[in-house]
């Protein structure tokens, strides 16, 4: 199977703080991989490095064989890697439809075609009813949907989801999990950063565990849950018994 994402030897310091240290992992095409770890482990930083917001001090990031290091964020998006943000960043002055169209314009500059594509993405995330609402008027969960629709409109082959589940209630988490499942079925490669274990167990084929900027474990969900290092650093010894919990055991 081809590698959608290959991160090798990634390093990043911020002043005296080592955010990411010699990080290496790979994601195969069509896989859904979860990046987990305690706060400050370097998960969002890794996303920022992959998507071009920071430049790594060392290492390489290959997406479908193409080097991403050194590319500006818009170029990263153009090469098929889209990301969502932890805190929703909608274009408040524009409608939902206009927001998503802005994403669609990456692939086709014609207004009609972009509107079409945008409508498809909006329908997929279930926001069609709010198509003409101002983005600034949306609820938090709808903001998340918008964020996702906008990213999907850019027709990515690799999708980076940064804590999409944060703050969602159980029903909403199930809906989100279902959406991610559908995306995966369409062949999209997905990397998610998450704290909500229930969601992770449901969608992730493999899990990569970070702590203090380094990878401390990698494997299938059942392997990770029983991994001693992971339990010590992140999950807590009670997790094995609380497999149904949806809150961050940390």
């Amino acid at each position: 199977m081809a590698e959608a994402l290959a991160v090798r030897g990634l390093c990043k310091r911020f002043g005296g703080l080592r955010a990411v240290a010699e990080l290496s992992f790979a994601v195969n095409e069509g896989e859904t991989v979860a990046l987990i770890g305690p706060n400050g482990a370097g998960k969002t930083t890794s996303f920022n490095l992959i998507s071009g917001y920071h430049r790594p001090d060392a290492g390489s990031i290959l997406a479908f064989g193409r080097e991403l290091v050194g590319l500006a964020p818009f170029a990263v998006c153009a090469s098929g890697v889209a990301r969502t943000f932890q805190v929703g960043r909608p274009f408040g002055k524009m409608t939902v439809l206009a927001n998503v169209m802005t994403g669609a314009f990456l692939r086709d500059k014609h207004v009609h075609a972009a509107r079409q594509r945008a409508r498809e993405a909006i329908a997929f995330v279930g926001l069609s009813a709010k198509e003409n609402s101002l983005a600034s008027d949306l609820t938090t969960i709808d903001e998340r949907r918008l964020e996702l629709a906008r990213a999907l409109a850019t027709q990515p082959r690799l999708l980076l989801l940064d804590e999409v589940m944060a703050g969602l209630n159980p029903t909403e988490i199930d809906q989100a999990v279902a959406l991610i499942g559908q995306l995966s079925q369409r062949g999209l490669t997905i990397v998610i950063v998450e704290h909500v274990m229930r969601a992770i167990m449901a969608v992730a084929r493999r899990i990569v565990v970070l702590d203090h900027g380094q990878k401390i474990a990698e494997g299938s969900p059942s392997e990770i849950v029983t991994n001693q290092d992971v339990i010590r650093a992140y999950l807590g010894t009670g997790y094995a018994h609380r497999a149904g919990s949806e809150t961050d055991p940390c």
Partner: protein, 289 residues
């Protein structure tokens, strides 16, 4: 030759002290309230007029007038934050920029209307005197201004680092939401920040009066210097603004000495362009992205 350079450097440092004082005020507001005060120069101007009138009508030395100009401007700062600045926080760049910008126009042209464009000066006992340090000629008035300016800046630094309110200000500067969660009242903190900043501007005004004329648009020169110094010293960094202010003074002085008498503006712009081209995040900033 060395003596000429040394003299220019000394002159530059002395006026640089004032630039530093104004710059610290600008960077303080920017760091804490996240607003660029386009009207900072006009508050220096107000400080100057206050000192001028106290000196002319009551015979009070401008340095003594510090005791009036600073508190007055502090209160103006509190009012400014309470009634104007607070209304535009969180609205985005445009309202924040143009609010203080409009204020600047208002104050400048208001002063023009009320005081006319005449240059006014204050003569004190020491306005013309100087001390000789080796071959160097040091104006007493400027020396006093420099020393007081440095003392005030140091006091501010101390305040920010040591007192609870100062730490609260730094906290609010770094992360307003978290600061609120920890019980810090942002309005109060912002008010004090603006108040202190304007007090420093007022102080600069009083310190300038013995050797500098006041006229309605006098603030423009200082605010321009301050803006470049704030960028050079990294936005929001008090120590940086201080050092950069001194550097601006020295650069201007060397420029006047070696390029020409009207090269002041040129030097300012050159330093701005240089900073932008080479290190946009300033001397003390990390790499931008």
């Amino acid at each position: 030759m060395a003596a000429i350079i040394a003299q220019a450097v000394v002159n530059g440092l002395l006026i640089g002290g004032i630039y530093a004082l104004v710059s610290v005020g600008v960077t303080l507001i920017f760091g804490v309230v996240k607003i660029v005060n386009f009207a900072q120069g006009e508050f220096v101007m107000i400080g100057m007029y206050i000192s001028y009138f106290l000196a002319t009508f009551l015979g009070i030395d401008p340095l003594v007038a510090l005791a009036v100009s600073m508190p007055t401007l502090f209160i103006i700062g509190l009012l400014l934050q309470r009634f104007l600045i607070r209304r535009v926080l969180g609205l985005g760049d445009m309202p924040q920029i143009f609010l203080t910008f409009a204020l600047s126009l208002l104050l400048m042209n208001g002063a023009l209307l009320v005081f006319s464009a005449n240059y006014r000066t204050v003569q004190t006992a020491y306005s013309e005197s100087a001390v000789h340090v080796g071959p160097l000629y040091v104006s007493v008035a400027k020396l006093i201004a420099f020393v007081v300016a440095m003392a005030l800046s140091a006091a501010l630094s101390f305040f920010l680092r040591v007192t609870d309110l100062g730490k609260a200000m730094r906290a609010a500067a770094q992360n307003r939401d978290v600061a609120m969660l920890m019980g810090i009242n942002p309005d109060r903190v912002f008010g004090v920040a603006v108040g202190l900043s304007l007090a420093l501007a007022g102080a600069a005004g009083s310190l300038l009066m013995p050797f500098y004329p006041v006229y309605p648009t006098v603030g423009q020169v200082f605010v321009l210097m301050a803006f470049v110094a704030v960028v050079l010293g990294t936005l929001g960094n008090v120590k940086g603004a201080l050092i950069a202010g001194l550097m601006m003074g020295v650069a201007e002085s060397l420029g006047i000495q070696f390029i020409g008498a009207d090269s002041g503006l040129l030097v300012v712009f050159a330093m701005l362009l240089l900073t932008l081209a080479v290190r946009p995040s300033g001397l003390f900033g990390g790499s931008t992205r």
